[in-house]
């Protein structure tokens, strides 16, 4: 009992989100008969306040207190969770702002969508904190079920429904496979606790049996981070979902998936081997498994993106490629890899959400997601074109933008671990990626529009949003030192146990 009470004091951001969730549901019911505009404004305001309070509290908690396990060792509140919490809150805040400006969500009652957003944000934090097989499965499913509903939110829209159905079928099969793998792992080790799993695996060699189990579990995690060959849902769902939801899926659940990946493999499947390095336990070479996943994911994502004509599909494949890059860092088997992933995700948040912000703003005027509809944007709105240029160059990883820093961290970690060949494949992939990002820019700057070309007008909120997203990308290099400090916190990952 005292354990539960004590745990609650380390659980403030989640509690704030749950409180905001309750208020949003009630406020949605009360304002049911009010005009849509005033009701939506009220609900957006409540959600924004809740998310912002959660961001502030999770920022304050970052790195100030030592690691501790919560709720009878179900969750661990340590540096890793500390780094991921602000990432989730920031993602949801930006997505909420995008939702206010999205044409697709205009004239739709947003109460349930906001309730789902708050639920997912809290569940993402549980995912990042879970150190128990039950909790991993439970939080992963909470995120999944809520995101299925968010994808299918436009219930009269055929594409939204179709995307949602594909998402839930793929999702249920992958998490089903993962659950089967978890049950077998439980049978092998006789415990559901990740630390217990590691202790039990360290005592014997399980070999191919364990590798089979890990492949099943990788299906569930791979589905969440959209890693090939578990990525088939990704392009369709990203295209069909309302664009703010797409933006959310491309960052939030992907980040949480990586948190689970790090926890499961680095905590449960490996033991410290001195000097911050880790060694696999149980006689299964899962490092090879992750390397294969990384290479396939990067290559497939980048090559498939070359062929796309729809910008949401292009960003879907681009997000698959970025997952591959981060998977490279996961193969490193040291704390440096964890830091690289955390830093990459923090930067990826701003560059990817930025690109989606431009897509949403452009959709307001063109009503289309085809890349061709961006022709003549340089004349119509230099501001939007420059912003898109910054986001895309950042995604490419070109200095002086922040994306370069992200790629630098990953490649440094990979090379330091002696995986030079993997880094070479990564660099080749980055070169391929430049082609499709530049293709979008070429259409915006060089191609001429055939019809009339009215200048684009933006509201103050649009400008604020763009500035909010552009600044971290441009000034990324200035924050080198502070980013280093943030990633230091993730070192405490291995403190418990």
């Amino acid at each position: 009992m005292s354990d539960a009470l004590q745990s609650l004091s380390r659980f403030i951001p989640e509690l704030i989100l749950m409180g905001a969730l309750a208020v949003v549901i009630v406020a949605d019911l009360i304002t049911q008969r009010r005009p849509l505009k005033s009701s939506t404004d009220l609900l957006n305001g409540i959600t924004l306040v809740g998310l912002f309070a959660a961001l502030v509290t999770s920022w304050q908690a970052l790195g100030t207190v030592e690691a501790q396990s919560l709720f009878a060792s179900m969750l661990a509140d340590d540096g890793l969770l500390g780094v991921f919490r602000p990432i989730f809150c920031l993602t949801s805040i930006v997505v909420l702002l995008l939702g206010m400006r999205s044409k697709e969500l205009e004239g739709v009652r947003l109460g349930e969508m906001l309730a789902l957003l708050l639920t997912v944000t809290a569940a993402l934090m549980w995912m990042a904190g879970s150190v128990n097989l039950v909790m991993i499965y439970l939080s992963l499913e909470t995120v999944s079920v809520a995101s299925y509903l968010m994808v299918g939110y436009l219930s009269s829209d055929r594409l939204s429904n179709e995307a949602s159905l594909k998402y839930i079928l793929f999702g249920a099969v992958s998490t089903g496979a993962m659950l089967f793998g978890l049950s077998l792992l439980y049978g092998m080790t006789g415990t559901l606790d990740l630390y217990g799993v590691r202790a039990a695996l360290a005592e014997g060699a399980f070999g191919p049996g364990l590798l089979f189990v890990l492949i099943l579990i990788a299906a569930g995690i791979g589905f969440k981070i959209a890693a090939a060959p578990f990525h088939f849902w990704c392009p369709d769902v990203y295209t069909g979902a309302p664009t703010p939801v797409t933006a959310f899926l491309s960052v939030g659940p992907k980040a949480a998936g990586f948190a689970v990946l790090i926890r499961f493999f680095y905590l449960g499947m490996a033991e410290p081997a001195g000097g911050g390095a880790l060694a696999p336990v149980g006689g299964a070479d899962w490092q090879m498994l992750l390397m294969m996943l990384a290479v396939i994911t990067m290559t497939l994502g980048n090559v498939a993106a070359l062929l796309q004509t729809n910008v949401k599909r292009l960003l879907a494949y681009s997000s698959i490629a970025h997952a591959g890059t981060m998977l490279m860092a996961a193969c490193v088997l040291s704390v440096e890899g964890v830091q690289a992933i955390a830093a990459y995700l923090a930067i990826y948040l701003f560059m990817n959400l930025g690109a989606f912000a431009v897509v949403i703003l452009a959709h307001r005027v063109t009503g289309s997601f085809e890349i061709d509809s961006y022709a003549g944007f340089w004349k119509r709105s230099p501001l939007l074109t420059v912003a898109m240029g910054i986001f895309l160059f950042s995604l490419m990883g070109i200095p002086p933008f922040a994306g370069f820093l992200a790629k630098w961290y990953v490649f440094a970690a990979v090379i330091n671990a002696g995986l030079g060949w993997l880094a070479v494949i990564g660099v080749l992939n980055a070169a391929v990626a430049a082609f499709y990002y530049v293709k979008v820019l070429r259409v915006m700057v060089i191609d001429q529009e055939t019809g009339p070309t009215p200048a684009l007008a933006f509201s103050r909120l649009d400008l604020a949003l763009l500035v909010l997203l552009v600044v971290p990308n441009v000034l990324g290099l200035l924050f080198w030192g502070s980013l280093d400090r943030v990633t230091e916190y993730s070192q405490t990952l291995l403190e418990l146990g």
């Binding site: 079920v145 299925y148 594409l159 159905l165 049950s183 049978g187 006789g190």
Partner: protein, 101 residues
């Protein structure tokens, strides 16, 4: 007493049947039924291991939670199927192919 192996044979068979169903069925509701088989195969594993390996209740509690989650997921999935049916008047997965490329 029935040995542990028999439970594992059953669960492996159920899992394979589930995966087979997911891959071959074209009707969304049939696919959902196959997915339930996958979940339940894991449940059999969990309960059997909890009895034979751990000797405590951890696996059984896990199985209960899985049942709850599976029910939620089925409810959401059927709601989505209904919603899609209202728009396109069928639930055939081969024809739900507006999104591709």
């Amino acid at each position: 007493m029935i040995p542990l192996e028999h439970y594992l044979y059953i669960s492996a068979a159920l899992f394979s049947l589930g995966v087979f169903g997911v891959l071959t069925r074209r009707n969304a509701v049939n696919v959902l039924m196959s997915i339930e088989l996958i979940f339940n195969s894991a449940n059999i594993n969990l309960v059997a291991f909890s009895r034979f390996v751990e000797g405590a209740l951890g696996g059984q509690v896990f199985a209960l939670l899985v049942i709850v989650i599976a029910a939620c997921e089925a409810a959401v999935a059927l709601a989505i199927v209904m919603s899609l049916y209202r728009v396109v008047k069928h639930v055939n997965l081969d024809d739900a192919a507006e999104l591709k490329g």
